[in-house]
């Protein structure tokens, strides 16, 4: 068994190198903008770029919209499935797995064909409506994770008993949903939200094909034309992803602490 332990250490060390070195390399490269010395010049250029600010803001707003739409769609659905419509569960789960099976590019291709200017629902006709379409496409992309997170949260609380207890005490439907169910799945929703945020911020394919000024296409443009700024952006993107994941852990842990008096 000794050799197994040595092998394990080798695997972990090699793995760590493979994962950490590119991060170091990216950071190092991003510091090389000024010839001969390390500086944060690339970052300064990036942050000062009005396009960066505009596209990052755009993607942030998109992410928030995606989260809101996603929550509005997923939470009631999960609630009603748990409470009354258990038979529909396999169908709903199949639907939420579809975005994992069908590649994003295919989905947005479908949108372009179905909702272009010559269709009954010309969502690509104006910029605003295209924004809406993009938001919907992001919701589709985030659906598997969002649904899984919320559904797990719903299952953890006994939805049926909570609802019955609330109704017994005189609560109407809105009260049950907003003051009983929602607070209890808040952590699950937040987890799904952070994951959605990380996904949407860096998304490229859909935004590019729908021609919207999102962060993804901006990254591609910079990557094609500049030398050092892409690395800086990659570092920023990585930090944002880490932050989202970290926040998921934080909210998750917070819930545990509350549960044990």
């Amino acid at each position: 068994m000794k050799q197994a332990k040595l092998g394990s250490w080798i695997a972990i060390i090699v793995g760590s190198l493979y994962f950490i070195v590119p991060l170091i390399g990216t950071f190092e490269f991003s510091m090389r903008m000024r010839r001969g010395e390390y500086s944060f010049a690339a970052y300064r250029v990036v942050f000062a770029d009005p396009n960066f600010q505009a596209t990052f803001a755009y993607s942030t707003v998109m992410a928030l919209a995606t989260i809101v739409i996603g929550v509005v769609l997923v939470v009631p659905t999960s609630y009603w499935i748990q409470l009354r419509l258990q038979k529909l569960r396999p169908l709903v789960e199949f639907i939420t797995l579809m975005p994992l099976v069908i590649p994003a590019i295919v989905i947005v291709f479908g949108y372009l064909r179905l909702y272009n200017s010559s269709s009954i629902l010309p969502l690509t006709a104006s910029a605003r409506s295209t924004d809406l379409l993009l938001a919907f496409s992001y919701v589709t992309l985030a659906l598997p994770y969002m649904y899984r997170a919320v559904d797990t949260g719903m299952r953890a609380i006994d939805v049926r008993t909570l609802t019955e207890a609330a109704e017994n005490l005189g609560a109407g439907l809105p009260t049950v949903l907003f003051r009983v169910i929602l607070p209890n799945v808040r952590v699950a929703i937040l987890s799904g939200a952070f994951l959605t945020f990380a996904t949407v911020i860096g998304e490229f394919t859909m935004a590019s094909l729908l021609n919207r000024p999102a962060f993804g296409p901006y990254l591609q443009l910079i990557g094609a034309n500049r030398a050092y700024e892409p690395s800086a952006l990659a570092v920023i993107a990585f930090v944002v992803t880490w932050a989202c994941m970290g926040l998921i852990n934080v909210v998750g842990r917070g819930k545990q602490i509350k549960a044990t008096p």
């Binding site: 394990s8 972990i12 009631p76 579809m98 590649p103 992803t241």
Partner: protein, 280 residues
């Protein structure tokens, strides 16, 4: 009861409008010619038109390579962290990092690898400076098939780690002990007990990795651009500018993609169901 149906309606309407119908539209369109008549010509061209055929072939090769290596290496890492007898803190660290890394795909990933293994990348220059060894002189090129595969591993390996770790947890300690007390060595245990129990999960997850790689585009777009003509890039070009001069061919491409990813994922689900049945 009525409330329940009203409550789930938005979800189903959304799914219909933005998931099911668009996909079906493409599927149906794949079997139509520009005039709207039923035809199998588009599907035939997937196989006959050399540019399309080669695109599929490259996509399959890249996906096969990144899935196989991602599967093996991911398994090795998960094994090391779960069973390998290492300090306790290694496993949660690996899990957390895998959670982040599996999301770190797309353009930033391409930039990261360019900055590391590109012609002026950190590792490249370090090797030249300290070991007088230029990896590019050996014929290595990041902007190539193997370069792309290597880059894809950055999110494939973590995905494997995340999915296979619960399966490894499912290997009960008592099975190892029972096999030992019946005379089996460590290798015999793996050969007769552990691997037979695990192989559906390992194979299934590898197929998941395959599908994952097949549908990826952003990283390839930023890294190899149109020099490595994978299916997603071809479809992207087709959508943007009808390079194939035939919109219905685009549908066929999309259909082909759905079939490939659908089959792989279907096989994954079937294999998982099989292994779950044993673990009861």
């Amino acid at each position: 009861m009525a409330w329940a149906w009203i409550g789930v309606t938005p979800f189903f309407v959304f799914a219909l409008m933005f998931l099911i119908v668009p996909t079906l539209y493409l599927v149906v369109g794949a079997f139509q010619d520009p005039a709207g008549n039923f035809t199998l010509a588009n599907l035939a061209q997937l196989f006959t038109q050399s540019s399309i055929r080669s695109a599929y072939w490259i996509s399959i090769k890249v996906s096969l390579a990144s899935a196989t290596f991602g599967g093996l290496l991911g398994f090795a890492l998960a094994y090391a962290a779960v069973i390998g007898g290492l300090p306790q803190w290694i496993r949660p660290t690996l899990m957390t990092f895998s959670g982040v890394a599996s999301n770190f795909a797309g353009l930033p990933l391409a930039f990261a690898f360019l900055a590391t293994l590109g012609r002026t990348g950190l590792v490249t220059t370090l090797l030249v400076t300290y070991f007088d060894f230029n990896i590019y002189s050996t014929g290595f090129n990041l902007l190539s098939f193997w370069g792309l595969t290597l880059t894809y591993l950055y999110f494939q390996i973590p995905l494997m780690v995340l999915i296979i770790t619960p399966a490894l947890d499912g290997l009960k300690r008592e099975w190892r002990e029972a096999s030992a007390i019946l005379g089996a060595s460590y290798w015999e245990y793996w050969r007769y007990v552990a691997l037979p129990i695990l192989w559906p999960a390992i194979l299934g997850t590898t197929l998941l990795l395959f599908a994952n790689s097949f549908g990826a585009i952003a990283t390839a777009y930023a890294l190899t651009g149109s020099s490595l003509n994978i299916v997603t890039i071809l479809l992207y070009a087709q959508i943007r500018g009808d390079v194939l001069h035939d919109p219905n061919l685009g549908y066929a491409l999309a259909l082909g993609m759905i079939l490939v990813t659908g089959l792989s994922n279907g096989a994954y689900i079937w294999l998982r169901a099989r292994s779950d049945r044993w673990q009861r």
